[in-house]
Symmetry: C2
């Protein structure tokens, strides 16, 4: 029995002081329900993905579900740091596959600009192991990814210019995406002259602090036939997951993420993907920092290890290239609201595979796409293959 | 394809200043692996349930999995407030049923005595809606359940003595449970003369602040046969879930929990339970406060609405009664470490159904038991039916 996505929605990403967490979630939920053309009564379970470290609510899933009309149907919240959204989509998938429910909505939502408590200051910006890394050294996200960038530059000769080219591409795409936080192109010169946040990462190598929501409605094949929605369904053909050590001093190296390699291996096997570049039409990669997109090209097998810098430089990840990556602007320019990011990637790939991406539409040959969502610095890894 | 539980483990519950969160989790994981008689390499996925509002770790699932040897296998953390443990067991179940993995461990763990930050002070003791209840009125858990108790007493004549009898029974059982936080009997006089925490709830009507962990290893029927573990498997025969409004002023009444009614209805249907008292041998109910156990008797259909007080008074929930409830001491006396509670209930019912509960063993006729786990004050509700 296959599981398909029958409706998707996404809020405008950005600084969303105009709405509460619940209202923000509803923007995506409403759009997903209208997109599916079903009634909210058809939905039997709601899974809420929210990292939640910046929320006032002890139990954010409850008020979110209540506001969206899913009281009685929302028994679970999931979290996998920045990969929280993918964990929510997975839980919706497995609920349907297990026969517990036929129609499930995965809601990803995050307000990151709301609370400024000691908690958000202390934990919001960090990754890694509390005991061994944060407490002792205070390392935060830009610092960790700067270590990755430095290692990649040292071993493979990756350049600051190549890093900046990822930002330029993703901002160029985001400029055409009405949902994006930064609908503005940047030049290579601007990126390369922006200040360092953590060497070698400059301001434009970093994703920002974003509020946003996304939703995906999944259903069993049987239910999809019953609802007459077979023509609009996008199927989940592959799922891969992995996780890695919280103690970065235990990592073998810093030039890639093992969680990406392992998660993609699992997803490729399930979806029978031998050559991702040839078999996939489009991909949404986890570019929380520009180096992360370059490492992902390699770890996902889009190119050989060490050739990620050339991949962006050659335009291989751009429209018309080998495989267009982050056509919607990526985390870098569309934004990265933790819980919403993974569901938002599914939203973007579904739109592409249905040919509804407008100005940002890629050529469809195989009608297959990929999402790649990382929590922390590879602490969590999720890869989905979607297809029609 | 059925899903069975092949191994369970549980730490000593109590104030566990002697261990870190990771070490605490490992106590249950080690016992579960030894109980199953498998190798940790047989386990393909780990699901961590931890509410986590009192933890230093931003991503507690990662260091927990790492310490327990599940690096690479732990892509998800789940949360459903005090029902977090049940959400973890459910996610393990659905992962297996969906064919993603054959052997999954559900780990529930909570350290509640560790952190004393503004976060824990502000949110740790409360439930309900931040906007409408906490921010305005500051209501905390004892206050909410006191409202339930008052309503139940007013409508049905339930007495403080009947409330206290729940505490006396559960402490009597906990006295024989080496894992319990309070291995000490109390008298009815002692309970009834303890100070009020929130009228009509006295000190001995409330569960305490507990650290603890529990683990359950689930596997597919096929894998169980392959491993030669069919004789020790306890099957998950029914699953029910529900959720309710975060705004208690919207509840129809305070004499029961709709989430319990709805979750049990779903689980009973799946497990073909028409008469729970006749068909079940034992039950673990969510007695965070004594009134909660009395309401659960009624909401689960063990007796009619309003007769829960008489049910405890008549000894119907005691050994030799209609259906022994909380034979292990319940949340009240074994303890209530949020993330561990639901998995701990599964641990206790599995031990009973395998005839391994020692001094606390019930008579087995149907070889079926129930777990009932509530998040908040019925914000989340989970019911499982286990059987052999």
């Amino acid at each position: 029995m296959r599981v398909g996505i029958i409706g998707v929605g996404c809020s405008k990403f950005g600084v969303r002081d105009d709405v509460t967490l619940q209202e923000l979630a509803f923007e995506a939920v409403k759009e997903a329900i209208e997109d599916a053309g079903i009634s909210k009564e058809d939905i039997e379970m709601s899974v809420v993905g929210t990292a939640g470290t910046r929320s006032y609510e002890l139990m954010p899933a409850v008020p979110i579900n209540e506001y969206c009309g899913f009281t009685g149907k929302g028994p679970i919240r999931v979290e996998a740091a920045c990969a929280t959204g993918s964990a929510a989509v997975y839980t919706a998938y497995s609920t349907i596959k297990s026969g517990i429910a036929d129609v499930v909505i995965a809601i990803g939502v995050e307000k990151m600009n709301e609370v400024d408590t000691p908690t958000s200051l202390a934990v919001g910006g960090r990754s890694g192991s509390y005991l061994w890394e944060f407490h002792q050294y205070g390392t935060t996200f830009p610092g960790y990814y700067a270590m990755h960038a430095s290692a990649h530059m040292a071993r493979y000769g990756t350049t600051e210019k190549q890093l900046a080219m990822v930002a330029v591409k993703n901002h160029r795409n985001a400029a055409k995406n009405p949902k994006a936080q930064f609908q503005k192109e940047i030049t290579l010169e601007k990126a390369l002259s922006s200040r360092y946040v953590a060497y070698p990462l400059r301001l434009f190598d970093c994703s920002a602090i974003t509020d946003g929501s996304a939703a995906a409605i999944l259903a069993s094949e049987e239910k999809i036939k019953e609802l007459g929605l077979k023509d609009q369904a996008v199927w989940i053909e592959g799922i891969g997951y992995s996780s890695d050590t919280a103690n970065l001093s235990k990592r073998i190296d810093y030039v890639g993420l093992k969680a990406t390699v392992e998660a993609s291996r699992m997803a490729y096997k399930m979806a029978k993907i031998d050559d991702p570049v040839k078999q996939l039409d489009v991909a949404a990669l986890h570019d929380c920092f520009t180096i992360a997109e370059i490492m992902a090209y390699e770890d996902l097998g889009f190119c050989k290890k060490g050739e990620g810098g050339k991949f962006i430089e050659n335009g291989d990840s751009d429209f018309g290239g080998k495989i267009p990556v982050n056509t919607f602007g990526g985390l870098k320019a569309k934004g990265h609201p933790l819980g919403a990011t993974g569901v938002g990637m599914v939203y973007e790939i579904v739109k592409q595979l249905r040919g509804e991406a407008g100005e940002l539409q890629v050529d469809l040959k195989n009608y297959k796409g990929l999402t790649h969502n990382i929590g922390g610095t590879g602490h969590f890894g999720w890869v989905f293959i979607l297809g029609v």
